[in-house]
Amino acid sequence: MSSTYFDHNATTALDSRVLESMLPFMTAQHGNPTSRHSFGRHARSAIERAREQVADAVNAHPSQVIFTSGGTEANNLAVTGIAGRYGASQIVVSDIEHPCISRPAQALQQRGWKLAVLPVDRHGVVQESGVEELLRTETSLLSVMLANNETGVLQKVAGIAAIARKHGVTVHTDAVQALGKMRVDFAELNVHAMTLSSHKINGPQGAGALILDKRIDIEPVIHGGGQEKGLRSGTENVAAIVGFGAACELLNARLLQEPGRIRQMREHLETGLKKLGAVIFGAEVERLPNTSFFAFNEIEGETLVMALDRKGFAVASGSACSSDSSEPSAVLLAMGVEADLAKGAIRTSLGAGNSAEQIDSFLAVLAGEIARLRHLTAVAV
């Protein structure tokens, strides 16, 4: 059983203050926000308060916040809702987007849209240079994530957005992994739409948001009762939305101290990893302070991850959402990493609960496991 959690990019533990804010809405305050009686009005005002908290955290206006069931739904809404509204045209996405951007884009492609992919360099940075050329074709949406979930590499979203705006193209960024780990400023990024998720910032699973410039026409993905100004129907998940808001409110204080502490832990970790001979992906460029994506030559990632779990460390082999498959990471392949090395990739993502001692014991265990696995491989050969 693992006891040390190094998988904060997959999901995070709920902050106890967030839980406290949610509890009343999981029990006594049970109204349906659409109801007009006092139970309903109470739920409605809780949602509106959360809307302000979310907006404040990313320098947006509350009226720009559309609550969804999570990041996946918000990304689907951005791609299908914006590009879909335009009619068949070009969609531009980067080569390292999360599947909840690339798959809805591919679904539109099957219905007649043109899909163009922005390549990344060997560090995992999306190349601005090709953008101008691509946008000569009529484009309904360009989407580039703010920070990659696997490597943590930051993208030059504001720069790309500036080019896109020159061409009158709507820009979306998936900021799910960035939120809580760095300052995220909707206005400064200069994008039209941005995706956020609650459970990556010590909020509950089941809530997310699309921040949307109201001048952008968008079509709902879920039709029904007309909630969220008709853009997202369905009874609101009040408790989760309240928790998302509370988690957002905690962010500003957290961003003052935590990234520095976590960055230090990561440096400590990566110094140790390099000593063990790890290749660290994206290490030469700007990354989220908590993420390390690395591999050891001739060691299978899946095997190592399982061995680490038995020793008490929860890490990921690739992103949680794709951990069902044993395919090498698509992000690494896009960066030009050899498939064999990519198959060995392991991700650690640090968070609120981690300490320098945990890093030390992790490095010690890792050294032992690598020696053991190398020995086994040698014997097998």
Binding site: L19, S35, G70, G206, I222, T235, N237, A239, A240, S322
Partner: protein, 404 residues
């Protein structure tokens, strides 16, 4: 008599989370917080196991195979996935859909959306009692009908449609049959081994579970195919991507377990309360029950109070939390489209109240409500010139009103 006001009589809009459900949920947002898609560590496995246990509980309530249950963010999403997903997948076979005018918006709006995409839809008018006439349903079938969607229990009037009969007709004609059962779980017995239904939508928060979680039943034999509406990490076998909210799923599982175990006793208790409420309200003159009283869940009582103005009625009964029309439409002042589909006049539709009774309703709540309604209706009618005319024996339907 001591009752705490406002009294909650709006269980069809949403139900409180049962304390047993909340208790079961909390460890999964605190201690066992893993992402069930994380396959590489025990945090993930613990979450996944909890998700699968809950899937079994949901399947058990409706006698389905757990593999037939797909998690969604709620019944609205389930309805969207079922209707758009099936219509798109089978569009090669035909583009005609049959549904009913009294469906929830979460069915009507996706069907309307499909109409914009080039599908054709028939919206059947129910009989004045709210029930679908099977012969009329048959008559609506065309050679290109691919999908029918009929709700199990109506959210506003509580009537129970004859799902088995409609399903059999659909089977005969090779039509995919979807049923919105958001209002049915825990209120009527559902046996999907026997019922000829292909797709069925469920919600947790109408059955004492949390908001933000629902499920779609997708039949395996004969297999029903859908086009996914939400794409991404490939969760739920590709039918519905997105990180599963473990604690909410756990909550839905527990809520459905309780429903399965307690449904029979609870419904008997609720029926007694409903009968008491009905008997009390029927002592008031000029009240009309909307929807069939027999083929109906006991939880719902929808009543129109004649000669009372709707808005002032709602204002007058602030001590009880009830709904005028469905919660999802109560933001608008349009009279309920469900009641209008039954042929109710705008006036009677406007002056209707849906009382919905649930697990925590007491006899005292009911008695208080009856007394309150009697007194408030009496006062409002004293102020009403229409009531006065009615008392004088004037037939209001024959009055020619002057334009102004």
């Amino acid at each position: 008599m001591t009752v705490k006001t406002p009294i909650y009589l709006d269980y069809s809009a949403t139900t409180p989370v049962d304390p047993r459900v909340a208790e079961k949920m909390i460890p999964y947002i605190t201690e066992f917080f893993g992402n069930p898609a994380s396959r590489s560590h025990s945090f993930g496995w613990t979450a996944e196991k909890a998700v699968e246990n809950a899937r079994e509980e949901v399947a058990k309530l409706v006698n389905a195979d757990p593999r037939e249950i797909v998690w969604t963010s709620g019944a609205t999403e389930s309805n969207n996935l079922a209707i758009k997903g099936a219509a798109h997948f089978y569009s090669g076979k035909g583009k005609h859909i049959i549904t009913v005018m009294t469906e929830h918006k979460a069915v009507i709006d996706p069907v309307r959306e499909l109409e914009r995409e080039g599908f054709e839809a028939t919206f059947l008018q129910p009989e004045p009692n709210g029930l679908v006439d099977i012969e009329k349903f048959k008559a609506a079938i065309r050679p290109d009908t691919v999908l029918a969607s009929v709700m199990f229990v109506n959210n506003e009037i509580g009537v129970i449609q004859d799902i088995e009969a409609i399903g059999n007709i659909c089977r005969e004609h090779g039509i995919i049959f979807h049923v919105d059962a958001a209002q049915a779980t825990g209120k009527v017995a559902i046996d999907l081994e026997k019922l000829p239904v292909d797709l069925m939508s469920f919600s947790a928060h109408k059955t004492y579970g949390p908001k933000g979680i629902g499920a779609l039943y997708v039949r395996r034999k004969p297999r029903v195919r859908l086009e996914a509406q939400m794409h991404g990490g490939g969760h739920e076998r590709g039918l519905r991507s997105g990180t599963l909210a473990t604690h909410q799923i756990v909550g839905m599982g527990e809520a459905f377990r309780i429903a399965r175990e307690e449904m029979e006793l609870e419904n008997a208790r609720i029926r007694r309360l409903r009968d008491r409420l009905l008997a009390g309200l029927q002592e008031i003159d000029e009240v009309y029950v909307n929807g069939d009283l027999k083929q109906r869940v006991p939880h719902n009582l929808n009543i129109s109070f004649n000669f009372v103005e709707g808005e002032s009625l709602i204002m007058a009964v602030k001590d009880i939390a009830v709904s005028s029309g469905s919660a999802c439409t109560s933001a608008s002042l349009e009279p309920s489209y469900v009641l209008r589909a039954l042929g109710r006049s705008d006036e009677l539709a406007h002056s209707s109240i849906r009382f919905s009774i649930g697990r925590f309703t007491t006899e005292e709540d009911v008695d208080y409500t009856v007394a309150l309604m009697k007194s408030k209706i009496g006062k409002l009618r004293e102020l009403s010139p229409l009531w006065e005319m009615h008392q004088e024996g004037i037939d209001l339907s024959k009055v020619e009103w002057a334009a102004h």
